[in-house]
């Protein structure tokens, strides 16, 4: 993310992660809400691997699809995290007698983990913003 000419990769990564965590939360709440719906199949969203891959691809100064081109070799490569594609996993297991395969314990645990992750990424985003603010206020 470029803010007043300041580029913060951490802020970009944190805000993308927040997006993915909220999407993942939608999936999890959907599973919980449909725990008694006959024939419903659970789904989950995985984004960490794709995110790590995009961040690592950006670190290598190669012209891979997920990094932006630089016009000078001394430029830091700007990572294009908007292209990160999360993985949607559709659980095809047969499930119980009514064809529903939601595992309530798993979903509740995941929801707790997502809550913590959201808090963590929000904290990172806040920290990044604080350091940008610090940089702005540093000038005499």
């Amino acid at each position: 993310m470029v803010l007043f000419g300041l580029s913060s990769e951490g802020l970009e990564a944190a805000s993308r992660s927040l997006d993915f965590v909220s999407l993942s939360t939608i999936f999890t709440t959907e599973n919980i809400a449909n725990a008694d719906t006959p024939g419903y199949k659970s789904k989950e969203l995985k984004f960490e691997d794709a995110m790590i891959k995009a961040l690592e691809a950006g670190n290598k100064k190669s012209s891979s699809a997920s990094s932006m081109t630089t016009t000078d070799p001394r430029h830091f490569p700007l990572k294009d995290l908007s292209q990160v594609q999360p993985l949607v996993i559709m659980n095809r297991a047969a499930g119980g007698i009514d064809g529903n395969n939601v595992d309530m314990d798993k979903e509740i645990t995941r929801l707790g983990a997502l809550e913590m992750k959201y808090s963590a990424y929000a904290g990172i985003a806040g920290g990044e913003l604080a350091s940008i603010k610090n940089a702005i206020e540093l000038s005499p």
């Binding site: 939608i26 709440t29 919980i32 809400a33 929000a122």
Partner: protein, 143 residues
């Protein structure tokens, strides 16, 4: 697609579970009802829940096919009535047998517990989402 969608889905879950609970109450309350407007004893009611795509405020379907539960029908349980020998009952037939509703106390109690737990799970999910939203509001404020 935001946290409000998650809230909406959980709210639909709460509604579906509450409907189940209402039906369980109706079945339990009428466990001995021998006369109904339709004639005959009370028939056990059951809830049919399906997963329908979530629509946002503008009526547009969400691309990712997020589904929320929806009660589409409350149907009658077609299983036969219980036949109990009780000649003193006003609704007893010539042989002294009374037709009682096809409601099973055990079944209803199990349904009730299951609906209660599912309601709790949905309400816990709403609280989690609320905490997340609060955390998002706090981004950038002094900590």
């Amino acid at each position: 697609m935001d946290l409000m969608t998650a809230m909406q889905v959980s709210a639909a879950g709460l509604t579906a579970q509450r409907t189940r609970m209402n039906v369980v109450s109706s079945n339990l309350a009428n466990i001995n009802t021998t006369r109904t407007p339709e004639g005959g004893p009370y028939r056990r009611k059951q809830v049919i829940v399906t997963a329908v795509p979530v629509q946002n405020r503008f009526g547009q379907m969400l691309a990712d096919r997020i589904r929320e539960p929806k009660v589409v029908a409350i149907t009658n349980d077609p299983t036969p009535f219980q036949r109990v020998f009780d000649p003193s009952h006003p609704d007893a037939d010539d042989q002294g047998y009374v037709l009682l509703p096809n409601v099973s106390l055990m079944k209803e109690m199990v349904d009730m517990l299951s609906a209660t737990r599912a309601y709790e799970a949905n309400s816990a999910a709403i609280n989690s989402v609320k905490n997340m939203a609060r955390r998002a509001i706090e981004i950038g404020s002094a900590r």
